[in-house]
Amino acid sequence: MQQAIFAVATIIIGVFGCVAYFYFSNLLLDRMLPAKGPNAGRNINRANAIRPWLFVFPALAILSIYLLYPVFSTFYLSLHDSRAQFVGADNYTWLAQDEKFRESLVNNLLWLLVVPAASTFFGLVAAGLTDRIKWGQLAQSLVFMPMAISFVGAAVIWKFIYDYRGAGQGEQIGLLNALVQAFGGDPQAWITLPFWNNFFLMAILVWIQTGFAMVILSAALKGISEETIEAAYLDGASPLQVFFKIKIPQIWGTIAVVWTTITVTVLKVFDIVFAMTNGQWGTQVLANLMYDWMFRGSPDFGRGSAIVVVIMLLVTPVMVWNIYNAHKESR
């Protein structure tokens, strides 16, 4: 109860604090540089130069402290050991030789290859199919729904699918093993199956991200000009040909956006691995490895930071591409 009061009080203080800041800072500016009297012209110009900064200041301050400063600080920390002694590139040479880091890097690359490709593919298929049917809206909602489910919730859902009962432990209650058994195969402990278990974890993210890809690609498909499609039909193209040869080439740009957005999500994937295996059985990924170094019995912030710098470097090309595109569009 006390906590609820505390929360409500903070909301009120926070919200009113924000509003009060904007209101009173603007009022103060108007008082100090009044738009009348002998210096009206000069005052107006000065006030107009200052006011935008009053508007952006809180956002700028929070962004600087919570995102910009950490980028530099992380780089700085990555050059120091767990006792804050400067060690140069030691953490990076350690990374290069660490077994777990290599495993994580390989796994992350696998995730990068499979998840964006599979999600975009299924998203495209779903968009193509739901575009042409009467209950398309409902179908889209249902495929899109996993987006609202937390990665942890999704992990529980799929762990149940992959559930395995050893011999003598009774009937298989996991759907996958029950199906395998129904088709005459042997049940497996999927999550501990070396190498392939990575793919069973990836399936979860594909399941979540397909809806995202579908929604965006579906909007792009709707935006294609009718004329090109009609012309193709008149020339005797089949619906499949139209889809692959007329529609898809026109939405390459959107496909690229979907692909890169999912790529960034994949690089940061943590919850799924943490909840399913915590990196055991050869499923470690960079984000989870970093968390591990940060919170293990004797934390090493230097090594943790070095891993983050690697993640950061992997994201950078996407960042540059995004800025380039946004810049191109604003012109």
């Binding site: 904007f22 179908a139 937390s150 009937e171 983050v308």
Partner: protein, 377 residues
């Protein structure tokens, strides 16, 4: 004719494939949802897809001790009931472990020592001895019982009140609501300035925001945790609100600015000419017109904060008053890994709110996604 036939066949194929895809996508969730309403025994002995058919189980029970037999005519009789109060039906019974299902309900089995045993379908049993028996160990009864399909809310009751999900629900709400409202407000002002006010370096600031969109959160954990501890904030709600605000701001500013740039400039110009200040323009014109974009971002931020595990694990403590639902579920996965009734119900307690928000406000969510990614994010 041929064309039409081909077309309808194609329509069928498309409908069928779409149905298959949708089925594939919702089955995992449906499976766990159904399981969350089944009782522990039912979940662990049969797949959830059998939930609507009766489940069978084999049980061994001991009858009352022979010493409690009562005389009845020439006989000494023990009467009682197996599987008391479970609503089950006996389909077979036996008296030795070698043949646990040798007899049908109502049959009479004769024990090697001479006493006669009958078990009825409803679980009542009767054991007849020719002479007064003695001893304290009752006759073993092997029973095969059929349980009718049944659903229960017990799992939810247990996770909410005994497993701490109720408390965690409150904690999650405490994290989510301020962490959704504050960034919307802060970002709206900044977005307006970046869209409609003359300032040097505006293009650079916009580019910086786009760049920050993809900065991995992991970057922030170690420096900020050190900072929070350094300034005495420690691990707690104030810290996580600020952190979520910071992490949500790039998307908020980006989405809102893109939307506000698209608003008609004439309205803003004419308001300026009429002598309205920027603060008035923002409050009276921009905010109401930007409602769809504000709603989109608010939904995003809400879903993201509600579903977050990582930020909560880093910036909140592990005490009962700070563990959020996702964190609680991960703990349960570790400590009660095989207890699917607990896990399923916990998962759905945490999923229910986002799903509700999702289905009721999907419009805004889709709009936000489109604005956020098609336009270059």
């Amino acid at each position: 004719m041929d064309m039409a036939g081909g077309k309808s066949r194609l329509t069928w194929a498309v409908n069928l494939s779409a149905a298959l895809l949708v089925l594939l996508w919702i089955i995992p969730t449906v499976g766990l949802l159904i399981s969350s309403f089944r009782d522990r025994d039912a979940i662990s002995t049969s797949g959830w897809w059998t939930a609507l058919s009766a489940s069978e189980k084999n049980v061994i029970e001991r009858a009352l001790a022979p010493g409690e037999a009562k005389p009845e005519g020439d006989l000494w009789v023990i009467e009682g009931k197996v599987l008391e109060g479970q609503g089950t039906t006996v389909t077979a019974f036996g008296i030795t472990s070698k043949e646990p299902e040798a007899f049908s309900p109502g049959d009479t089995a004769t024990h090697a020592r001479g006493h006669k045993i009958t078990v009825q379908a409803d679980g009542r049993y009767r054991i007849e001895y020719a002479e007064e028996p003695s001893g304290s160990r009752g006759q073993r009864l092997f029973v095969r019982a059929e349980t009718p399909p049944g659903f229960t809310l017990d799992n939810y009751r247990e996770v909410l009140f005994a497993e701490g999900m109720g408390r965690s629900l409150l904690n999650t709400l405490t994290v989510t609501i301020p962490a959704t409202i504050i960034p919307v407000l802060v970002a709206a002002f900044a977005a307006y300035a970046l869209a409609w006010m003359e300032m040097p370096g505006r293009a650079l600031l916009v580019a910086a925001v786009v760049g920050l969109l993809v900065v991995p959160l992991q970057v922030a954990f170690i420096p900020l945790l050190k900072l929070h501890i350094g300034v005495g904030l420690g691990k707690g709600y104030l810290g996580i609100w600020l952190a979520h605000t910071g992490f949500g701001l790039p998307l908020a500013v980006f989405l809102l600015r893109n939307y506000m740039v698209g608003l008609p400039g004439e309205i803003i110009e004419s308001a300026r000419v009429d002598g309205a200040t920027d603060f008035q323009i923002f409050r009276r014109i921009i905010l109401p017109l930007s409602f769809p974009a504000l709603a989109s971002f608010a939904i995003f931020q809400f879903l993201w904060v509600w579903n977050d595990l990582l930020v909560a694990k880093v910036f909140l403590g592990t005490g009962e008053d700070q563990v959020v639902m996702t964190g609680r579920i991960v703990d349960l996965l570790g400590s009660r890994g095989g207890d699917w009734e607990i896990l399923a119900a916990s998962a759905f307690v945490s999923i229910a709110v986002p799903i509700f928000v999702f289905f009721s406000l999907q419009r805004y969510l889709v709009r936000g996604l489109l604005a956020g990614s098609v336009k270059g994010g």
